[in-house]
Symmetry: C2
Subunit: 456 residues, 2 copies
């Protein structure tokens, strides 16, 4: 193990250069024009996996390909762990807010700035580098590993569940390891034991057959933008609660233990407010910001589009108005039930003066795993050894839909060992990844496999 850790330490500059290569691919899965770039990124990853000694395969799907890479199998049954990551990234818009181009990785001090650096290229790359260290130092890995790196996480991982089902036999494993979450501070490593689920939908209200001159027609016809505002306004009440009937019925309340554990986290509400740059924090009455973002469900507008958006003005009644919406769910809530209730509520609230279309509906379950099992304890030991600090147990507000598919298809839990700091700007301009976390993540990964094998 000493050789492995020494190899990691000695090769950081090269690892960073390689990560920068990976970050140069604009692998934006939400935008069809980048299909070739996603493929090029997957090809690069496949070749890189082969270079470090893995047996890698580029697996086509109806969408973007999956990179499947495994350690050479030995005779006999050994523990087998799966490492999941995704090479696709969020759209970089708005471009003008990036201080450096999103796909030209830029290093400032110990920070690497690029779209995808934290979410998720940098994080899964740390695990690849740990395996490389085992291979290149001739150190025996105490288990088999399989990397599953997909290209559709940011658009709902539609093709991964069928892929897992088709490859169920070769992917059978003892646990899944995912680094795609966060840690509260550079000196506070974390194991995440709960995630929020999500429901996404696109709501369009259509009024007149075409944009109308607001002077000639305004006043005699519903303005779809106003109808959309009045409709959406009713979805959240003054206490910050979602108004969809039955929305909170299945929400599991936080335990006293959990609320106490959250008090260990650094930072104050005021420092958090300053970090976000808002004049006042706002959320569901009766909960702290951390609770609101991790253990309470939400209704969020992700985008609004209607009428004229260019410079100056255009005096029209727009023909239509659209909102992109996501709801975050917490353990207990089920996407199917929430979609049904939300759509029914929207239909009930929609005025007869416009036509409603609801599209692009999809969802994923929230996730909750008890953090006291043998694997979790092994992961906590690896975190402690890699970071030289006592790790914390976290709930997180994001969604990693695929963890539910691992449970369903492979019957195993997922260890969420995140390496992104709170200011990583995932999904925002100037996304960044801390290079110390990158290095510590490699150590954690190297130390994790012997710890996990001990539990077998």
């Amino acid at each position: 193990m000493h050789a492995v850790l020494h190899y990691l330490k000695a090769n950081q500059p090269r690892f960073i250069r390689e990560l920068c290569e990976l970050l140069r691919f604009p692998s934006i899965s939400a935008q069809p024009q980048y299909k070739r770039d996603l493929r090029a990124c997957a090809v690069w990853l496949t070749q890189h996996c082969r270079q470090i000694g893995l047996k890698a395969e580029l697996c086509p799907t109806p969408g973007h390909p999956v990179v499947l890479a495994r350690t050479p199998r030995r005779a006999g049954r050994r523990p087998h762990f799966l490492v999941y990551g995704h090479y696709d990234v969020q759209p970089p818009e708005p471009f003008e807010l990036w201080e450096s181009p999103p796909f030209e990785p830029t290093i400032r001090g110990r920070t690497l700035i690029a779209r995808g650096s934290a979410d998720n290229k940098g994080q899964h790359f740390a695990h690849l580098k740990a395996v490389e260290a085992y291979f290149k130092t001739g150190t025996a890995l105490p288990c088999d590993l399989t990397f599953v790196l997909e290209g559709e996480e940011e658009v709902g991982s539609r093709n991964l569940p069928p892929f897992l089902r088709a490859r169920r036999r070769e992917l059978r494993c003892d646990a899944v390891v995912v680094s795609d979450t966060g840690m509260p501070a550079k000196n506070l490593p974390a194991l995440t034991y709960a995630l929020r689920g999500i429901v996404a939908l696109e709501l369009t209200l259509r009024g007149p057959a075409r944009d109308l001159h607001s002077g000639l027609f305004g006043g005699s016809v519903e303005n779809p933008a106003m109808a959309l505002c009045q409709l959406l306004a009713k979805l959240r009440d003054a206490r910050g609660r979602v108004t969809v009937p039955g929305f909170y019925d299945d929400v599991e309340p936080l335990t006293a233990l959990e609320r106490k554990q959250f008090k260990r986290l650094p930072g104050t509400e005021e420092s958090y407010r300053r970090f976000l740059g808002v004049p006042e924090l706002f959320g569901e009455a009766g909960f702290s910001s951390h609770e609101r973002t991790t253990a309470r469900p939400t209704f969020e507008i992700n985008g609004l589009t209607s009428g004229y958006q260019g410079e100056g003005g255009k005096t029209i009644v727009p023909a239509w108005a659209r909102a992109k919406i996501t709801l975050r769910l917490v353990p207990g809530q089920r996407p199917g039930k929430i979609i049904k209730a939300t759509v029914a509520w929207l239909k009930q609230l929609c005025p007869p003066t416009v036509r409603m279309e609801i599209g692009d509906c999809h969802g994923s379950m929230p996730y909750l795993v008890e953090p006291t099992g043998a694997h979790a304890r092994a992961a906590l030991r690896a975190l402690q050894a890699a970071f030289h600090r006592e790790p914390v147990l976290l709930r997180e507000g994001g969604s990693i839909p695929i963890v539910n598919d691992f449970k369903k298809t492979l019957g195993v839990d997922t260890l969420l060992l995140g390496l992104a700091l709170p200011d990583a700007n995932a999904h925002s301009p100037n996304e960044k990844f801390d290079l110390d976390c990158f290095a510590a993540g490699q150590r954690m990964s190297a130390l994790l496999w012997p710890e996990l094998v001990k539990t077998a």
Copy 2:
């Protein structure tokens, strides 16, 4: 006069070709990248005015130039009338809804389709062709005429009032004639005696310093798109009335005579609903659609912008949300007072969780002139003779801010003799101008000058 009318009849094909040339300039005043096209359009118009025998001048302003063209002055004081038009056009977006490219004029039957065809190039071009007919047939014009063709009508005519003040002496006249309004049907010419005013503003709500990951941060911070929806939702009540305090205080009620006159207009509420393509009409309770669009004030959202608008999804809390807003005012209301009341109301309603910015505020007065004066009666005679039908008196819902400036600076009223049919799609995709109305408009203009001179 026979020669003039014969010349007009004989030259229609060429006039249409020339109008198509004029329509090919993308003279979009709202979008700075078209500055050169506006200038090119103004240069073309200046040269065209010279070709037909006018003394034309391209007059620079701090914005787009004004084309000033006058008939050669004779000795002695003769009646002098001013013809106003604008060569700038509305933005053509959304492009995908145009059945032919907006700046490639297309003729279908008796309809000419192009941005600017009705609003306003086709309409002022009809007046130019009438003057050409006088000149080319050697027929004596009984008065002096000056054409003022500006390039900033669609962006508020900011530079025209100073231009009028600077040229007050040479623009001194007996009345202004403007064809920039509509007529209810091909067989129903109209004199418009009232226009709505307008107030425009741009409202931006700013929340977090950057777009935030809606999983990691959603629930703990106001969503500016939701704040905007909840704010704008409060601006109009369930009865279709604007909620700004004092908004209706100065509205002059319709007279019984006016409501009776409106009953002469063709069409039913049901045919109007079908024409607009809406499932139900909607507007202020207690008024007909015609009254709502011409004699009642409104609050309209012209555009909404927030967050991610591309394909697929992006799970963010947007950093900001913006609405482009216009309010239409009716006689009695004053833009300054309405701007003040609206801004105060928005500020009062704005939650403390976001920062509000209000920009791009401008407005113009409503217009009302008694349609029983000598000039109006002369215009009605010219309309009757040109269209062979009894004209109707109209209020119109649009705004032509400059008519108030003519009154203020030159002390004269404006005759609004519109040639656009209700389906002209002004400010909409597939804007069009009826070629029979184009021809009748030329006849009307030719017949107008002797009628107006009779009143002197």
